[in-house]
């Protein structure tokens, strides 16, 4: 697996076309945005799951994506993480990383972490081991065979355990955690990868009110240092955390803006309440 950065052109390369600034290896957010989706179309057997979807996420932003069932929210996540290839359109991570040309592991490595709807932690591994496996490291076979946890790694795992509220009982098998705790553990696992962009699919589904409250605090603390895309049905939760809300409908963006503006948009009201 080659690092996506390695495939980029060398800044000193004279044959590099002039884009106005030099191409740097790694994630380039010099134009403020961390994710660009432009005219993305995905069809399944004639059904257009995404229809010329265009979306831009800024670095450090916390964006909520809402929309009725079948609006294309999950398909959008699949395109960003490389699980689904778009039929047409472009998807860029930063200025330089073309997501449509990378495999799933490469995209994960480039700095995009995804949390699925259903919490999937490694149930038979301990909470600590779950974080260890997720930790940003050389993930090739030989390095993994000889990998030893250094003091720094242990500190990072401890800090993440603290952050997601699982510091006690880190030695327990993850399968014994409650539903909400599993969700947090999974977020913790994502954080161990040091992603720049986090995709969270219905993170508070099935959580108690107290757990939802804690999760909102966690997300607020993450925004700024990370960019987050949260897909959620729970409108109270969205209203509490969102600065900008994007409404998807039939595979494209219907409305975008602050929560109260979006909520009063007649088209949004029609999609959610009408028909």
């Amino acid at each position: 697996m080659t690092s996506p950065a390695a495939t980029l052109q060398d800044p000193g390369d004279q044959s590099a076309p002039d884009y106005g600034h030099l191409l740097r290896p790694g994630l380039d957010v010099s134009h403020k945005a961390i994710l660009y989706l432009e005219d993305i179309t995905v069809s399944f057997d004639g059904f257009r799951a995404l229809n010329k979807l265009t979306l831009t996420i800024d670095a450090g932003e916390l964006r909520c994506v809402i929309g009725p069932n079948g609006a294309g929210k999950t398909t959008m996540m699949d395109v960003i993480t490389g699980k689904t290839r778009p039929d047409s359109g472009t998807a860029y991570f930063g200025q330089t990383i073309d997501l449509t040309r990378l495999t799933e592991p490469e995209i994960a490595h480039a700095g995009i972490g995804r949390k699925f709807q259903k919490p999937t932690v490694f149930e038979r591994h301990s909470v600590f081991e779950n974080l260890e496996l997720a930790m940003k490291a050389d993930k090739r076979v030989r390095r993994t065979l000889s990998a030893r946890l250094g003091a720094e790694d242990r500190d990072r795992i401890a800090a993440t355990l603290e952050r997601v509220g699982l510091a006690t009982g880190a030695g327990r098998p993850a399968g014994l955690l409650s539903h909400g705790q599993k969700q947090w553990l999974e977020i913790g696992m994502l954080l161990m990868q040091e992603p720049q962009l986090l995709l969270l699919d219905e993170p508070v589904a099935g959580m108690t009110d107290a757990e939802t409250e804690r999760t909102a605090e966690l997300f607020a603390s993450l925004a700024g240092s990370h960019s987050l895309i949260v897909v959620e049905h729970d409108m109270d939760f969205v209203a509490r955390i969102a600065r900008t809300v994007t409404v998807l409908h039939e595979g494209s963006v219907l409305a975008e803006g602050p929560m109260d503006t979006v909520q009063s948009d007649p088209r949004v009201v029609e999609v959610y309440l009408g028909r």
Partner: protein, 363 residues
Amino acid sequence: MSRVLSLYPPRAWAAIAAAALIVAVAVPLANIAVPGASVFHLSDYWVTLAGKIMCFAMVAIAMDLIWGYTGILSLGHGLFFALGGYALGMYLMRSIGIEGVYKSELPDFMVFLDWKAYPWYWNFTDHFWYCALLAVAVPALLAFVFGYFAFRSRIKGVYFSIITQALTYAFMLLFFRNDTGFGGNNGFTDFKRILDFPIATPGTRMALFVATGLALIGCLLLARAIVVSKLGRVLTAIRDAESRVMFFGYNPLWYKLFVWTLSAAMAGLAGALYVPQVGIINPSEMSPANSIEIAIWVAVGGRGTLVGAILGAILVNGAKSWFTQAFPEYWLFFLGALFIAVTLFLPNGVIGLLDRVRNRAEA
């Protein structure tokens, strides 16, 4: 995982050291130095049986790595075992020299086919270490190539198992053919010597036994080192939630390929140690039923424990050697019943049962 770690407390290291001493010192003394009339004498029958079972135990460890830890059920490990056996068998055939029935430089089966010279793939097989290398490298290479395409195509579960069955069956048919150049139906037998030592003397037999015992312990230590490493945790993570592992940036292909290839090499080594001890290798070793039996050993002992694999190999093969003498026609029925019983009542095998008993005793 912590359960696995708990299987290797200091006491376990002491047990491994004790096993090494028994294999390398106690058994040779009891077999050779103790006179035949003494109660402490160990007969040749037991030594040969134990040597054979230790070879099977190595295959069981190989199987546990790929099945118990990585969740990939191979029903073709008998093929890797047999290929290892054939590789060393080539050397053993060359060592017969001109003492065969036809007094020819060539093995009897080649004379019978009216061949005038060794085919190219028999080149250098008169060197022991070359064949020893082949015994590990050929199964590993086959596994690597086969595994690369199978894992890259994301073939898993029962589909993978069925393909491995088909693979070993195809090789069995290939090796049954006389013109494949491996003795056809009869395979290789009538070995005379190994490394210039006559093969049937007590000394040679004991040397093979000790080598097998130490190789078994080596395989156990190697497998243990792998499963307690971070790589081992990735393997079990692949078993439990492969897509999740991918999202963390691991490419399961290379992990599966690593453990699959290693497992095949280990099975090949076991086969190479098996053949000089039993004195024969033929294509029936590649029969699908043999490979299924390997899976049963591991299931009986307990998957994902390593020691369980060894225990299962000993229990099932011990039972088999007694059963096939006492009630030869019922062995397969017994084996089938055993498999069903273990699946229904002992999902974690004998080791799981021992764990449960211990937990109850502590409670």
